[in-house]
Symmetry: C2
Subunit: 214 residues, 2 copies
């Protein structure tokens, strides 16, 4: 099974990627699980938190529910079925080949992650990947990968999770969890569906591979 987190920053540009992944999954008989980010909905949570100083737990809960909302949008844009339990998703993906996870039920029922903005949908997708027992995850976002400095740095083809520091396109807990779970990740620009397909095909492409597995 291939989990691909599609960041909410891609909301307005996700349709070509969703359609390409659906076609690819069916043509190549691969099982793809799409995990949505919270996008602009989660930005509203950040604003409410900043203005009203709500609890970390409430911010965490609301931001997770925002992932469901973007997931519903992705489901309609890509004409892909969405599921709110891994039970249903695993049952149906055998026929459908591609599925969107609406993760709030899973994430709130398990309460698996720290309640903090250091955990965003990037890190949450790793917890989900772990439950799916995968060793690799793709993070599709709106930049080409991770740069050696920001701004105006050089794109890194590969980096060890230990070496990720400071401002990057993934949240700060992500490299820590990646090592803990012994997983690798690819950060790739989802505006170019062919790059995401290249990763699924094991081909070299423009992206950053993060090594969390020694």
């Amino acid at each position: 099974m291939h989990p691909i987190k599609i960041g909410g920053s891609l909301t307005y540009e996700a349709e070509p990627l969703l359609k390409a992944l659906k076609d690819y999954a069916n043509e190549k008989n691969k099982e793809i699980v799409i995990i949505p980010g919270g996008g602009e909905f989660a930005n509203v949570v950040r604003k409410i938190d900043k203005t009203l100083n709500i609890s970390n737990s409430l911010s965490h809960k609301l931001a997770i529910k925002c992932m469901d909302l973007i997931g519903e949008v992705y489901a309609e844009l890509g004409n892909i079925k969405a599921y709110d339990t891994l039970f249903d998703l695993k049952k149906e993906i055998k026929n459908e080949k591609i599925a969107i996870l609406l993760p709030s039920k899973l994430l709130l029922s398990t309460d698996i992650a720290e309640h903090s903005w250091a955990i965003t949908s990037d890190s949450l997708s790793l917890y989900i990947g772990r439950l799916l027992d995968v060793r690799e995850i793709i993070i599709a976002t709106d930049v080409d990968g991770i740069y050696d400095k920001f701004p105006e740095g050089k794109l890194l083809n590969i980096i060890n999770a230990n070496d990720i520091k400071g401002l990057t396109s993934v949240d700060e807990t992500f490299p820590i969890l990646l090592k803990k779970f012994k997983m690798n990740a690819y950060v790739v620009n989802g505006k170019y569906p062919e790059r995401v397909i290249d990763i699924l095909e094991g081909k070299h492409t423009l992206c950053t591979k993060i090594i969390g597995k020694e």
Copy 2:
């Protein structure tokens, strides 16, 4: 039971109103049900709809789920318990006196309203009021009431639902439903909690009463 819809436009200023209502409900032994609007979360749905032209049904569903998110914020700000069924709400409000309804479960399970932007949380609160079997509802928003023209009109103390036309602070279906359900409504500025309390006390105050019951 007294349903009060607190518009999402009040998100950043709702705390004094929520606290005043909680105190009032307990002091005067009145049962108050708070129905949240969708606020800036619902604005994100509008933007996604405008940009991606998603279906009316999806917009409707997402906007309803946004009401839950603001409801959770109100619950924390006002230290008021929130319920996602009228069964639980009615059971607990006897002791709590005040309750927040997270309405998505009720609204999606009953699918009671048209899927259109002509129906917003204003009209949805009337459907909920009807299920609660009330004859009056308070709409707390960020303006003082309904004006005879917009902008720079005169505030109306009272208006028949038949006479509401064009731009007002309630959605376009609201007056139609108000008549159909034979209900009256008060549109009041929620930034002034004392005005909302005045309405609950049956006192004259700055607001607009909309007559839907002949």
